[in-house]
Symmetry: C2
């Protein structure tokens, strides 16, 4: 039995390793580079489980995260975020001893890097294939040309086109997800063909829903999913995983029960789970997590005890199922988070089912 | 000029101290106990600024936070959260050397405490005056009686009735806010009168909107606002403060510009600001923050540069105003957060405009 007194992020290492193995196998079968995004777990120790699957190249979302993983022996890192020009010294320092890959989407950034980089970096041109967060429209070949010209420098090696199809998270069904993947792939392949002067350029895609639910599209060279390492209720709602594939759960004390409205108050709020919400099929109201049974040693997903309907700073309100109505103050429940990346970031460390602590870069 | 390279939470100490002074003055003028909630700043150093205003009693939202502030010399702490029975040892340890006040809302919890407390604690009965998060309905006098009977013990001193009118955050106008305050006050006063056998019992209320926008209602003995120390865009939208009263801003690098859709991408996402959103008057779409000018030394609220419309883990999308359209990658903007409590919790420490670091319990 684990001694848990306050909100604690539990990690089922078997599920986690199995998720890693499944994605590594899929990448091998499709003969694509597997460059997992480490922003979800942000942990050197969990990173080692990827290494055991043969992973040598990774993706991160900040220079700080690149520094952390470089310090833990990773020598090939894509910083999948528009270059933060203010961190040029840190980028130069990193590029002096590991392989750094940057994302460029403007001439200004290309010119700045050409002038200020003191060590060789690879770079991708970030393409916006429909998410409309960042990147150059695939039709804007003239801008891509200008960026490539502005980036002509011995310190900047063009490596290809990269996209993150975040719009996959808004696909209403499998058909829409397939269309999103097809559009992205076609656009990237057209660009790769157009810019044929760069024969070693590759195409890199990333989102967990497509990587989990669909075969890797022909022509794709690299996949960069991240969230699959833990999964979460959002991925469950999207159809990327089963509930039993979710590798993390926030174990929370029950502190009050309101039988008249079938609610329980848990010690577990926005500072633990994050305010990210999602919709479940056939339920019009958003949720912040799903509470399941915690038996003192592990959680199981056989019985839903309640839905987290509301979060304040430290409180969560559980809307109880019939099975949850037996809960009492002083008992514990396991909450499957809506967005494991944000929950892991807030909680900063993990406890395994054996009671061992696993640190992250935020510990 | 401050050197800022990545998202950094700046604190304007003049504004912060002025906010503290204004609330302390209001409490003095209304002759009520000022027991500020420290969950917003979670910082021993900022706590000292309250002490300079004569504050000796505080509110916190967890046993861990009580331990932190007790370690920093606070000797009178209300833990404004339903008692977490699993932390009874920690509560006993705290109560052995400082004055601890607990919130009880069930017979089970009262019986448990009667049996397990080894040192004297004060307790309030938590009343639900309309927020429907926690607490006993004010009409449920029979349950209150049972709780008081179950709590009869030398280690449990009844101190009165306490509410948090979180529904004040949903008031559509000043009239509704007044009605919410009146309902809460009338209910608490009726209970105080009914349970006249406890002559020293007090009435304690808490929310920042009422404490800022309205006079303290006659009969109230204690106020426990917290957020006012920093304020934020949510309090601005509610009418509790002016934009220039907001004491914290997240300074963020601009990393990409998309002129065709008048958007900028900032390095500043859900792991910095939190996913809390709010609505501004006459704008149908929720925002996650307001970007204003940062001149390298301070921010000002004269010119709005953009609204944060979307957040992913590290990215924020700014919808730019005309004034914001001149922004370039490598420049900095100051983002006024929607919910300063959650932003401060995520960022864990502050930088003053003089470049000094201020630590919190999460640093």
């Amino acid at each position: 039995m684990l001694t848990i007194k306050k909100p604690t992020l539990l990690l089922n290492t078997d599920i986690c390793r199995s998720n890693i193995q499944a994605m590594a196998k899929k990448a091998r079968e499709h003969k694509v580079i597997f460059r997992p995004h480490f922003k979800t777990h942000q942990s050197a120790e969990i990173g080692e489980w990827f290494r055991e699957e043969g992973v040598t190249a990774i993706t991160v979302s900040s220079v700080s995260m690149a520094q952390y993983f470089a310090n833990h022996g990773w020598k090939d890192i894509t910083i999948a975020f528009p270059v933060n020009l203010l961190e040029i010294d840190e980028i130069n320092q990193l590029a002096s001893y590991i392989n750094v890959h940057l994302l460029i989407e403007s001439e200004e950034t290309a010119r700045f890097l050409k002038e200020r980089l003191t060590a060789e970096c690879g770079f991708f041109i970030k393409i916006d294939t429909g998410y409309h967060r960042t990147g150059i429209a695939p039709s804007n070949v003239s801008l891509i040309n200008k960026v490539l010209q502005a980036a002509e420098s011995p310190n900047l090696q063009f490596e290809g086109f990269l996209t993150h199809s975040g719009n996959a998270y808004h696909a209403n069904d499998r058909e829409e997800l397939i269309r999103i993947q097809q559009t992205a792939t076609e656009n990237l392949l057209r660009l790769k063909k157009h810019f044929h002067l760069h024969p070693h350029s590759i195409i890199s895609v990333g989102d967990t829903p497509s990587c989990c639910q669909l075969p890797v599209a022909p022509g794709i060279d690299e996949i960069r999913p991240g969230n699959f390492v833990f999964f979460d209720v959002m991925q469950f709602a999207l159809g990327s995983c089963k509930l039993e594939d979710i590798a993390v759960a926030l174990v929370c004390p029950v502190v009050a029960i309101h039988p008249n409205r079938q609610e329980a108050i848990i010690y577990g709020g926005a500072v633990h789970l994050s305010k990210e919400q999602t919709l479940l099929p056939a339920d019009p109201d958003p949720i912040y997590g799903l509470a399941v049974n915690w038996n003192g040693k592990s959680w199981d997903t056989f019985t839903l005890l309640g839905k987290v309907r509301s979060l304040s700073q430290e409180h969560g309100i559980l809307s109880l199922t019939q099975a949850g109505c037996n809960l009492k103050p002083g008992e514990l429940v396991a909450v499957l988070p809506v967005h494991s990346c944000l929950t892991a970031n807030l909680m900063r460390k993990y406890m395994t089912l054996d009671g061992d602590k696993i640190e992250s870069m935020n510990s």
